[in-house]
Symmetry: C2
Subunit: 262 residues, 2 copies
């Protein structure tokens, strides 16, 4: 009888997907989704500028090296604080740590964007994912790949323009309706993308809708990795603790749900 | 017989401490050991300097805020890459992710430094800790509190001088022998302190010895927290991924060994 019950669960996909996370791969160790930060990093405003490396010698002939740098808050793999588009929202250092360690889900729309740079993620895409993989977990970070990670080091391809003008840029993103849908889900604490912006092509509406609910954003995330499961992993979104920050470069890693094994 | 064996284990402290982590408290959730980064942050060289917050309005009357900043690599809670004192050592972005997620151990010498700012951590202190709490785990991050966290926002008390001159500074730290001992333990991947430097009073020898083994360092860590267990927790040392960095502000958090529960 027990076996019959078990088999009946196994035979019904919708129950199965709800009970056990689907995985297109098994995450065994932490994976870094962070781009290196250097003078070639994609920057929304100010690029990364290193200082001059100093060598200093202490008594005892001990030499050390030290440097400084300047950088725009939205350069390379970075976090947008809600304050970026919501003047009453959290600044970087105000985002609760509990929200920066989130339950990841991963959606891949690389095929949809392959011949359509104007692709707009629609609410139906979210519904379809949920139907296939189950409801979002609480404290959810929604990672969305548009297949743009591979273009990152080709600036013109990545942003769709050879200029630095934000309003000239062309790349896929989500519709206002999709942002509204995600913002209406209380379990969503963050949304991350592999493009320069959570919005499509220099728009700002998705930013505005999501940050109005104190949802933080990750941009320029490197999702060109052999294994990002559909769900069942933790995301550590680790910005430096910048007071009054609208955003900041951050370390973003994913970790198996059961923790680091070794 | 089984019960007798179990009781015999329970009765022998040295076996017990090796098998089960000792805890002076039970870590139930992630704890942030990171100082906020602002113009008051303790800086080894260049302080934190924010740019001017810009407000930009997009079509559709959508307004956003954006800024930039300049900062010394060794400002606030930060990571020292081995390259800082070892020209052949890893720069910030080269430190393997596997080493940045480490097994934490915590040593508290607040009592020893209370009336002795010249306190030097000796190899015996390490031996004593191991005798009491068991051998270090593999991939170990050795967090050492000198009770200095409470002084952080009082610059003169924290560094022992009203000047910015590094060689004028006075604060506790470790002896060269202790650095040599830690550097000789292959399981040690990092060492962190709640003072401005892993060395005592503007010295550099401990830096040199530890970084020679590609051990990375954490400084200005906030250890004034109600619960940091003696062992049995993970440390996430999360620097931004700075190319050629000798160090960088970092997010440093500790997490229960079994992972985040919720």
């Amino acid at each position: 009888m027990k076996m019959l019950f078990l088999l009946s669960i196994l035979a019904v996909p919708s129950v199965w997907t709800y009970i056990l996370p689907q995985r297109n791969c098994l995450l065994r160790r932490a994976v870094d989704l962070t781009r290196v930060l250097d003078t070639e990093s994609v920057a929304a405003t100010k690029p990364f500028v290193p200082g001059n490396l100093s060598e200093i010698t202490l008594p005892g002939n001990i030499t050390y090296r030290i440097n400084d740098f300047c950088v725009g808050e939205h350069t390379g793999t970075h976090l947008d604080a809600p304050f970026h588009f919501n003047k009453d929202g959290w600044t970087v250092e105000e985002i609760p740590l509990e929200r920066l360690i989130s339950n990841g889900i991963f959606m891949n729309f690389s095929q949809e964007t392959a011949n359509n740079v104007s692709f707009r993620l629609q609410p139906d895409h979210i519904d379809q994912w949920i139907k296939q993989h189950g409801r979002f977990p609480h404290n959810a970070m929604v990672l969305i790949s548009y297949g743009w990670s591979q273009l990152y080091w080709n600036r013109t391809a990545f942003t769709g323009t050879a200029t630095d003008k934000f309003t000239d840029m062309v790349y896929p993103g989500m519709s206002a309706e999709t942002a509204t849908k995600l913002a209406s889900m209380p379990e969503v604490v963050g949304v991350g993308v592999d493009t320069i912006s959570i919005d499509a092509s220099g728009e700002g509406i998705a930013h505005q809708i999501l940050t109005a609910k104190n949802i933080y954003l990750l941009e320029d995330v490197d999702m060109d990795k052999p294994c990002i499961p559909d769900r069942g992993f933790k995301v550590f979104s680790m910005p430096i603790k910048l007071v009054n920050g609208t955003g900041t470069p951050a370390r973003v890693i994913i970790v198996p749900e059961g923790g680091i094994l070794k």
